[in-house]
């Protein structure tokens, strides 16, 4: 008898939970999910089919107070994304609105989805996201867009169709060529074995850059370089260190480790120094000036590149603000200006609604100190 009462209580509680949810005001979830195409890693070229709309500069709009932006990086506690967030915060001060950053503790797309859904439920104005996996986050982002939330990709693109605008930090093909060129510079006579230490296996941006680099390497100029393979460090310092050590052990003649990730490049440089291979194995890729300053001067990483990460965050926020207040629609051909970026020159949105921040910077012993001072990261 008591047993039955408890069973009944359990069922009533669950039914009450369901009923309570049903009876309250609800934002209806979409009933259909359109299929998404995988993103193309092509360089973006603007080909407007209709007359492009020229938009005024992104000034604070009347509804700026209502503008709420949520930034979802690949993972939190990653210094690269923290720097980008500072840029977004600066933009929020300049342009109005509020910005917060939430995200998973590991670079895992399945953990990003609950944050997207929470932001949608909270009715934020815009989501700015760097996707751990282009397609895994797509259904949740499309649901957000259907609910009226603007979606701006930055750093790593969600699948085409799951964002309004993607802010690419630099031209993909350009980064790929830059990685190949830096490896060629560092390997003696542009000859030797090279290997790649990447981030997560599914990361859209790294995969696109590596593909572009492989295409560049087909050119006869690089015929002396032999690509041993690609290993994945998941943007985790421990895993990246282990993978870098594995590369050194598996390939005794390795000349260059290319790490197109700010976490991986530091790990690789540390490993080279600890293994006392400075001067025989070199490291290059994408890294923050401050993080790599010591290794540039020490000789482990004579050359590497990046872009202004603060500006990336600033631009992403500015694009989100423009989308929310209607200044741009996110279509190829739209142009807009952001006062403190690009020397005031307008940005143009290209194919697949991608807008490029600008050219990357190459850091070396000669300019590293001045960049650390001017970038601040």
């Amino acid at each position: 008898m008591i047993h039955r009462v408890h069973q009944l209580a359990a069922s009533v509680a669950i039914v009450a939970l369901v009923a309570g949810a049903c009876s309250s005001s609800a934002t209806p979830a979409p009933t259909a999910v359109p299929s998404v195409a995988a993103p193309s890693a092509a360089a973006s070229v603007a080909a407007p089919s209709a007359a492009p709309s020229v938009a005024p500069s992104a000034a604070a709009s009347p509804s700026a107070a209502a503008l709420t932006v949520v930034v979802i990086p690949k993972q939190i506690n990653n210094p690269y994304f923290d720097v980008a967030f500072k840029g977004a915060q600066k933009a929020a001060t300049d342009l109005g609105g509020t910005v917060t950053q939430v995200g998973p503790s590991a670079a895992d797309a399945t953990q990003q989805v609950p944050f997207i859904q929470t932001a949608t439920t909270q009715g934020v104005s815009a989501i700015v996201i760097s996707a751990d996996d282009a397609t895994a986050v797509a259904p949740a982002l499309q649901a957000a867009m259907a609910a009226g939330v603007k979606v701006v990709g930055y750093d790593s693109s969600p699948a085409v169709g799951a964002y309004n605008v993607f802010v690419n930090q630099a031209d993909t093909a350009g980064i790929g060529k830059g990685l190949a060129d830096m490896a060629c510079d560092e390997a003696p006579n542009c000859t030797g074995e090279i290997a790649v230490l990447s981030a997560a296996q599914s990361a859209t941006n790294q995969n696109a850059w590596i593909a572009a680099m492989k295409t560049t390497l087909k050119d006869p100029k690089y015929k002396g370089l032999v690509l041993d393979g690609v290993v994945y460090g998941n943007d985790d310092p421990q895993i990246s260190t282990t993978q870098a050590q594995g590369l050194l052990q598996a390939h005794p003649n390795l000349k260059v480790i290319i790490a197109p990730t700010t976490v991986g490049i530091v790990a690789a440089a540390q490993v080279v120094r600890a293994a006392k291979k400075t001067g025989s194995v070199f490291v290059t890729g994408l890294g923050t000036p401050k993080g790599m300053q010591d290794y540039v001067k020490g000789g482990e990483a004579p050359e590497f590149a990046l872009w202004n990460v603060t500006d990336l965050g600033y631009l992403a926020y500015a694009v989100a603000a423009d989308l929310v207040n209607g200044t741009i629609k996110g279509n190829p051909g739209d142009t807009f200006t952001v006062p403190s970026l690009n020397n005031g020159q307008p940005y143009t949105i290209g194919q697949d609604s991608v807008v490029v921040l600008g050219p990357p910077f190459v850091f070396n012993k000669g300019n590293i100190d001045q960049f650390v001072a001017s970038f601040g990261f």
């Binding site: 008591i2 047993h3 408890h6 069973q7 209580a9 359990a10 509680a13 669950i14 939970l17 369901v18 309570g20 949810a21 049903c22 309250s24 005001s25 609800a26 934002t27 209806p28 979830a29 979409p30 009933t31 259909a32 999910v33 359109p34 299929s35 998404v36 995988a38 939190i76 917060t100 939430v102 995200g103 998973p104 503790s105 895992d108 797309a109 399945t110 953990q111 989805v113 609950p114 944050f115 859904q117 929470t118 949608t120 439920t121 909270q122 009715g123 996996d133 282009a134 397609t135 895994a136 797509a138 259904p139 649901a143 609910a147 699948a159 296996q201 599914s202 994945y232």
Partner: protein
């Protein structure tokens, strides 16, 4: 006169392991209220969390939040059902997260080579059952502890998933498939996957508490030697439970793949811990023999409400993990503390120290 040291005046071993004095020996049905006290407490915690969640955020009690909250946990929830029975028998299955990944990987790979999902899904369910069979045979026939076996298959299945799919992700699944895992029943905030969990939950509830299979599971958990002498085929039961666990884990893998529209070899990583957390939170004793399916069902919702409320409140991932950890530690130590206080209360009530040579509950005789 207490008779031979170690035996109470009424003899009779109960399945509770060891001998209990007559005053405390009760039939299983009478003993249930003591267990269900944990369920009631859990219900109370759930209710408090719901109230607190509604207070923290006005979006908490909305249909879309309910839908998110529920759909995020359904894969873990259905795997927790057979895990409950396995833990009640005194075993454990750590390999579920890797089977989730393996089934998703195989399904994705089959799809990528042109095999339709109607064929692919039954194939991965069979693979799940076979994986469970491997676990079951090693545990029941060979006698290796399940902790060790499933630790091995945790790595084995994940490795196989990597072999099948490598670093690739298959994502061009048909919209109908994604809709199943991601969408709600049209016009309602109820996800399709909740229906799946409801059906499975009811089935397991019935089997565990209303059929002879359930009786056997509890008997084996309390004292597997006594159960064997009572005629229960312990090995066959355990093997069957592992097969079911593998099968359900494979099904959960299909749902996960559907929900993210993405088959990757690392899908499901870390889920074993969540499943075990939920089962223990539901009041199942890790040593076996005690626990209820409705407790685990409530625990599913308790955990997802907690995580959802914390997310809506903007609490960062690290603090969420701390909160879940504290909840788990509290839930496993509370029954032990409760038992200690009950022992002390009983002794105080009887007003005399326990007779010399008597056996405390849980002590093994000879």
């Amino acid at each position: 006169m207490t008779g031979t040291p170690g035996f109470a005046t009424d003899s009779g071993a109960t399945p509770g392991g060891g001998v209990q004095p007559a005053a405390e020996r009760r039939s299983p049905l009478q003993r249930l209220p003591a267990l269900l006290r944990w369920e009631s407490l859990l219900l109370l915690i759930l209710a408090l969390l719901v109230v607190e969640g509604a207070r923290i955020s006005k979006f908490f009690l909305t249909g879309s939040n309910f839908s998110n909250l529920v759909s995020a946990e359904m894969e873990v929830a259905i795997v927790a059902l057979p895990m409950t029975l396995i833990i009640i028998t005194g075993e454990i299955d750590l390999s579920v997260e890797s089977m989730i990944g393996l089934s998703g990987a195989i399904l994705g790979w089959l799809w990528s080579v042109g095999v339709p999902l109607q064929v692919g899904i039954p194939v991965v369910l069979v693979v799940g059952a076979l994986g469970g069979l491997l676990n079951g045979l090693l545990v029941a026939r060979v006698g290796v502890p399940s902790l060790v076996v499933t630790l091995g298959t945790l790595a084995l299945f994940r490795g196989l998933a990597n072999v099948v799919l490598g670093p690739n992700a298959i994502s061009n699944f048909p919209a109908g498939f994604t809709a199943f895992g991601f969408n709600n029943i049209p016009g309602t905030p109820v996800p399709w996957t909740l229906i799946v969990f409801a059906v499975l939950g009811l089935a397991f509830w019935l089997v565990a508490h209303g059929t002879w299979i359930g009786r056997q599971v509890f008997a084996v958990g309390k004292n597997k030697d006594a159960a064997r002498y009572a005629g229960i085929r312990v090995g066959r039961l355990k093997t069957a439970l592992f097969v079911v666990s593998g099968l359900i884990a494979a099904f959960a893998g299909v749902i996960l793949t559907s929900r993210f529209s993405s088959a990757r070899s690392d899908n499901g990583t870390g889920l074993t811990l969540v499943v075990v957390t939920i089962v223990l939170l539901g009041g199942v004793d890790i040593n076996g023999g005690k626990g209820t399916v409705p407790g685990v069902i409530i625990a599913v919702f308790t955990l997802s409400v907690l995580q959802n409320a914390l997310r809506l409140a903007g609490v960062s991932s690290e603090y969420q993990a701390v909160a879940v950890g504290l909840l788990l530690i509290g839930s496993v130590t509370a029954p032990y503390l409760a038992r200690q206080t009950r022992l002390l209360a009983d002794r105080a009530r009887r007003g005399r120290p326990p007779p010399a040579g008597s056996i405390a509950p849980g002590e093994v005789v000879g």
